[in-house]
């Protein structure tokens, strides 16, 4: 699968797929990486050390610092895959050196929760 690279990097890991957008500031605990918004489909799960798949980020602009804090606290996702990269997510990943890619809708929908993939956000593909 070919992807558009927003922030470069390479990683391997399991996909954690969310169907809901993410408000990083309100929705994610920056110390633990746990999703704490009860109305979110990932509620109670940890985004740490997963390849996080979600449509796009929403809400507070400070969510970018939440992403940076997750990295600092070693609870960040290995990489992020979005349908549309919003500015807060893109800037948070850029500062934190977390690979970020965008995939078209059809490919996005084929990404299965729990499956293990290898993401090359330099060449721009997922295997």
């Amino acid at each position: 699968m070919n992807v558009q690279v927003i922030v470069k990097g390479k990683t391997k890991g399991a996909l954690l797929v969310s169907r809901n957008p993410i408000n990083f500031l309100g929705g994610i605990d920056k110390k633990t990486g746990l999703v704490r918004d009860e109305n979110h489909d990932l509620f109670g799960k940890s985004i740490a050390n997963k390849i996080l798949v979600f449509p796009f980020g929403v809400g507070s602009s400070v969510g970018a610092y939440t992403i940076y804090s997750l990295k600092y606290n070693k609870r960040a996702p290995l990489a992020m895959i979005c349908l549309k990269a919003d500015i807060t997510t893109a800037s948070g990943c850029a500062i934190s050196n977390i690979p970020l890619v965008v995939v078209p809708k059809r490919d996005y929908e084929s990404l299965k929760d729990g499956s293990k993939v290898s993401l090359d956000a330099i060449k721009g593909n997922i295997l």
Binding site: V7, D86, I95
Partner: protein, 384 residues
């Protein structure tokens, strides 16, 4: 995205680490939003000032950055987590106070105007219409685009910071006139409208809209309702602009059923121990209204009112502060409801507020229950 030779050199680190980092952020956003170039901006408004929101990681990052960074354009900042003038009245831990002080110092060292306000559009003189600015703080970005006639994307904390450092931003999304046209219309179907209704409308609109949304069925919005709409929209979505007209494309009703869904999501209590007003912070006009509404009345409960320091002198000179304090209101400057350590589950079970944005962050981040009521309902039911 095409960079000039100068920008390319900065990205490659030829002008230091800080500029390289700032350009790396701008390039990532440029790629994400399919921008062709960077353009100059005149004013950056930064979020990421409250220690509770940015944590140790953010505090250290800013402290490091401030050693050799000076902002290139006018830069204003969001609220902190506390009001340094009234610290002694609250039980705050020493670590919080120290880290907050460090963050404040870092921003000021880099040249930020110490505004500590989420309503820069209300307390500063605005540049001429059409001027590009870079506003993080979602309610401010939406207000700037929709009401003030300025142009900004709904910036992230680091994108606005990168703009403050470089004086530039990628020319994409809402900076490009063709993307400012709404492609969804929300039809306001609620008859009795107040600022809470508009906050919930905004929260709903944020979930269904793209970059820009049209809102029909309503024409004149007072400032309170308008700020509430912007804040609600900024909380739930990525939408950075609204217009009050019938737009092209899909039409979606905001009716009693949709409003009830929003209320069910955000209202988690039927009453509250403390009242909070000011997310976004209240400006002069709202304080003046509040003083009139409270005439001859006093709050039955503690009521915290969050304002920018910029209006403190005015509301004092005009007698509004005295009237509101007589009614039991407690003013806090430089901070706001969202993620303040002044409200947490150790000292409060539930909070009464008219702010949809406040309700979302109080529940998810401060961990307290929320009772949503409009300001007129608060004055009616919570005063004697």
């Amino acid at each position: 995205m095409e960079l000039t030779k100068e920008e390319e050199a900065a990205l490659d680190g030829k002008h230091g680490e800080t500029l390289a980092l700032a350009y790396r952020v701008l390039v990532a956003i440029g790629e994400a939003t399919e921008s062709e170039k960077l353009i100059p901006i005149e004013w950056a408004h930064l979020s990421g000032v409250n220690y509770n929101t940015i944590g140790d990681a953010g505090e250290q990052f800013l402290s490091h950055l401030s050693k050799d960074t000076k902002f290139k354009v006018k830069t204003t900042v969001n609220p902190m987590g506390l009001d340094f003038d009234t610290i002694s009245k609250y039980e705050l831990n020493e670590q919080f106070i120290q880290k907050q002080q460090s963050i404040k110092d870092s921003y000021e060292k880099m040249g930020a105007i110490p505004s500590f306000s989420c309503i820069p559009y209300e307390i500063f003189e605005l540049p001429k219409k059409g001027t590009h600015v870079s506003f993080a703080e979602s309610n401010a970005a939406i207000y700037a685009n929709s009401v003030s006639g300025l142009k900004t994307n709904k910036e992230g904390a680091f994108s606005a910071l990168a703009s403050a450092i470089t004086g530039k931003s990628p020319c994409s999304d809402l900076r490009d006139d063709k993307n400012r046209k709404p492609n969804v219309t929300i039809q306001m179907k609620i008859k009795n409208k107040d600022e809470l209704t508009y906050g919930m409308l905004g929260y709903f609109a944020g979930k269904v809209a793209g970059n820009s949304v049209a809102i029909s069925g309503t024409t004149n919005l007072d400032k309170r309702s308008c700020k509430s709409l912007c804040a609600g929209m900024g909380t739930s979505g990525r939408c950075g602009m609204f217009t009050l007209e019938e737009g092209e494309g899909e039409k979606i009703d905001f009716d009693d059923k949709e409003m009830q869904n929003v209320r069910d999501e955000l209202n988690t209590s039927e009453s509250g121990d403390v009242i909070t007003l000011g997310s976004p912070q209240l400006g002069l006009e709202e304080i003046s209204d509040l003083a009139v509404m409270l005439h001859g009345k006093s709050f039955r409960k503690r009521c915290m009112i969050f304002c920018p320091r910029a209006i403190k002198k005015q509301i004092t000179d005009l007698g509004y502060a005295k009237e509101i304090e007589r009614a039991g209101g407690e003013f806090l400057y430089d901070c706001c409801i969202c993620l303040t350590p002044l409200i947490n589950k150790d000292n409060v079970d539930s909070v009464i507020t008219n702010s949809v944005k406040g309700a979302y962050y109080l529940r998810t981040s401060n961990g307290v229950d929320v009772n949503l009521k409009s300001l007129s309902q608060i004055v009616r039911e919570e005063t004697k």
